[in-house]
């Protein structure tokens, strides 16, 4: 009799636990999260203060207020690439300063086409991956669309080797931190704590991007710069003596992508302290001429 009683006392209550007690999500939490999303709202309309009729397309880029008024080049390579390309295509547009939080896709640039009232379609922003089609459809000058098989290969040089060196140079190199905070951190907040946090986040994000692209766990600037130098020399070789890349008669998207980096590296208005990338580029006179040509055609 007594043994029966003690067994009753120690026997645990009926527990609805799954196969693995510790790592299973607790049932009430699982039930709660299964309910989400409760409701998906339709996209917000544009704020009331935005003008109903925009007769000219607007490209939102990273730029300072005063530069935006003058229509100067953006200081962000991917924004500058599209800004330049839209100029090549002679699309009529103006630029406005913005930041990533304002963009529907989370990244700048994006373009709001000229809108008519009550036309919902004209209020849809165009993200950067659809800008090429937009420029070809709305531009005054038709950009020759000559697919070149080598273009994709050379694009990978730009998107990896040169971009990695750019990321290191601007975001991680301690000498350039003054420039970094002038471009990306000071416009965001005046609080010192927020600035420190943002600087930390930006650096970590840049590091993660480089590590992901190079497949090497450590970031060695000497290697990054020498890889970028090889890439610039290869681009110089393939440019040859022609005015534009791949023997095209008109500048195209690839020229705009190259210009986005070469211009910013050589730009005197940016206070580069660590000038190694510019020194590397100085050994490629063809690319410098290419940059000067575009700067002259589009901005002077």
């Amino acid at each position: 009799m007594p043994s029966e009683e003690t067994r009753d006392r120690t026997r645990p209550g009926p527990r609805p636990s799954g196969p693995s007690g510790w790592f299973a999500i607790p049932a009430p939490l699982a039930r709660l999260f299964k309910k989400f999303p409760l409701l998906t709202y339709p996209p917000n309309e544009l704020p009331a203060r935005s003008p109903d009729i925009r007769d000219v397309a607007t490209l939102y880029v990273f730029i300072s207020d005063s530069d935006a008024l003058k229509g100067l080049p953006s200081y962000n390579p991917s924004c500058l690439k599209w800004q330049t390309f839209l100029k090549f295509a002679r699309v009529e547009f103006r630029i406005l300063p913005s930041n990533n939080h304002a963009s529907p896709s989370g990244a700048l640039p994006f373009l709001l086409p000229p809108s008519q009232p009550n036309d919902v379609k004209s209020q849809t922003p165009i993200p950067s991956n659809k800008l090429e089609r937009y420029a070809l459809a709305h531009g005054a000058s038709k950009i020759p669309d000559v697919p070149n098989p080598r273009l994709e290969a050379y694009e990978s040089l730009l998107d990896h080797r040169i971009r990695n060196a750019w990321l290191y140079s601007l975001y991680i190199s301690p000498a350039n931190s003054a420039l970094l905070s002038q471009l990306y951190i000071a416009p965001v907040s005046r609080s010192a704590h927020v600035r420190t946090a943002i600087l930390y986040q930006l650096r970590r994000a840049a590091e993660a991007e480089i590590v992901r692209s190079t497949r090497r766990p450590a970031i060695d600037p000497a290697v990054l710069y020498s890889e970028a130098s090889e890439a610039f020399r290869a681009l110089e070789t393939v440019l040859g003596s022609g005015p534009w890349f791949f023997d095209s008669s008109e500048p195209g998207l690839f020229d705009a992508s190259i210009f986005a980096y070469t211009h910013l590296v050589l730009d005197e208005r940016l206070a580069w302290e660590d000038r190694r990338l510019a020194d590397i580029l100085k050994e490629c006179p063809g690319l410098i001429e290419h940059r000067d040509r575009i700067l002259h055609d589009c901005w002077e």
């Binding site: 009753d8 699982a30 930390y200 970031i219």
Partner: protein, 399 residues
């Protein structure tokens, strides 16, 4: 006998190829073709931590480590006295660099989708392949880490969603008829084609497009030439790289999209693999057993892997152990903020662990609470009259 000067450390063989990793495979093919087999040894160390940079393939020559395919090729060209045949005109050199970069970035992304991110390929062929390469406890830590980096690559191609585990809990059990909140029978959702397809099948259309773009870029570049850069002369470094990527793309996976696209539409590239296969000499590779790791080293690697997979702390730990940013002289710089963030991460993880333990010790929320108490002994006979009754209870007359 002096040991051969060049030691190539790689990931070991899988899928009937000499290595599971494209760059290692390219390095093996390059060495096999360029260097007499007495002059080098091949070690399937399967352990990126053999060299200080934590990257395979790695080359050890006169106690200098070189890592990564292109660095190794450069090193061999400069330091080893063999005819490597890379006498290229500048435009060819530029093309070689660009296509090598294209192969290692786009090719890697495609392989990441096809061999790692795709759940069925991972479960059926890739993970078993790694399990046969790695010693016991490391099979728990290394393959998942490799997969998570591959999934990041797949994300860059917009295909990362493939890897998400399919949640099967939510499907109602077939036996019960469900009712809506108003008491009507709920009709079961019609299973359209999209709902019954494997994730690989829904992604197939986009993936096939990416694969065809990749192949046609390579195919147009090579044209009718024997090798990628030229018709005459020995193959160059980019040929071995292309050979390695294309061979791994031809691996038979559960959903062989890469393989089918290659074999159906790009005969010239399939022929190229055949040419390279013919080129490689039939002599055996100079395989050598890797030095035994020892229980301590194995345990160290394992605990490293375990710590790296703890959310919140793992990233910082990885960065601290082998990553980080070097300054221009190649020294590690460790910043102070990072240490703070790491410590914060550790504290938060511990707090989360504690909270979980606390939660586990509580009774399940929402379940009805049962209390178990010892049943009261029923008081009968004279006992119900208190102490005196109990004394009298012992008397035989009342039994």
């Amino acid at each position: 006998m002096t040991p051969p000067a060049l030691e190539l450390h790689v990931w070991g063989p899988a899928f009937g190829l000499d290595s599971i990793d494209p760059e290692c495979l390219a390095a093996i093919a390059y060495f096999r073709s360029m260097i007499p087999s007495g002059d080098w040894t091949l070690i399937a160390s399967n352990d990126a931590s053999v060299n200080p940079n934590h990257v395979l393939p790695a080359l050890l020559h006169q106690s200098t480590w070189t890592f990564g395919y292109s660095n190794i090729v450069d090193y061999v060209r400069q330091h080893v006295d063999h005819d490597t045949g890379d006498d290229l005109i500048p435009l060819q050199a530029a093309d070689s660099l660009a296509y090598a970069s294209y192969l290692t970035t786009r090719g890697q992304g495609l392989l990441a989708v096809s061999l790692y991110a795709s759940p069925s390929a991972w479960a059926e062929i890739t993970r078993p392949a790694y399990s046969s390469l790695l010693p016991f406890p490391l099979t728990w830590t290394v393959p998942p880490a490799l997969r998570s980096t591959a999934v990041e690559k797949a994300e860059q191609l917009g295909m990362g969603y493939l890897a998400a585990e399919v949640d099967t809990d939510g499907s109602p059990s077939p036996g019960l008829a469900e009712t809506t909140s108003t008491g009507f029978l709920r009709l079961r959702q019609r299973l359209g084609p999209a709902a019954t397809m494997h994730p690989e099948q829904t992604a197939a259309i986009r993936f096939q497009q990416l694969a065809q773009d990749f192949y046609s870029t390579l195919d147009q570049f090579r044209g009718d030439k024997k090798y990628f850069l030229r018709d005459e002369g020995p193959p160059t470094s980019v040929d071995f790289l292309a050979y390695a990527y294309l061979s791994l793309m031809r691996v038979e996976t559960p959903h062989p999209i890469l393989k089918t696209a290659l074999e159906k539409h790009f005969d010239r590239l399939s022929e190229f693999i055949g040419v390279m296969d013919l080129d490689k000499e039939r002599e055996d590779l100079p395989w050598q057993q890797p030095p035994p790791r020892g229980a301590l080293g194995l345990l160290g690697n394992f605990s490293d892997g375990v710590v790296e997979s703890i959310p919140g702390v793992g990233e910082s730990w990885k960065r601290w152990r082998r990553g980080g940013v070097k300054d221009i002289d190649g020294n590690d710089t460790k910043d102070f903020t990072h240490a703070i963030v790491t410590a914060g991460g550790a504290v938060i993880s511990l707090a989360a662990l504690g909270a979980t333990a606390l939660f586990r010790s509580l009774p399940p929320i929402g379940a009805s609470i049962h209390r178990f108490e010892p049943p009261k002994v029923e008081e009968t006979g004279l006992r119900q009259f208190g102490e005196i009754g109990a004394m009298l209870d012992g008397l035989p007359v009342w039994q």
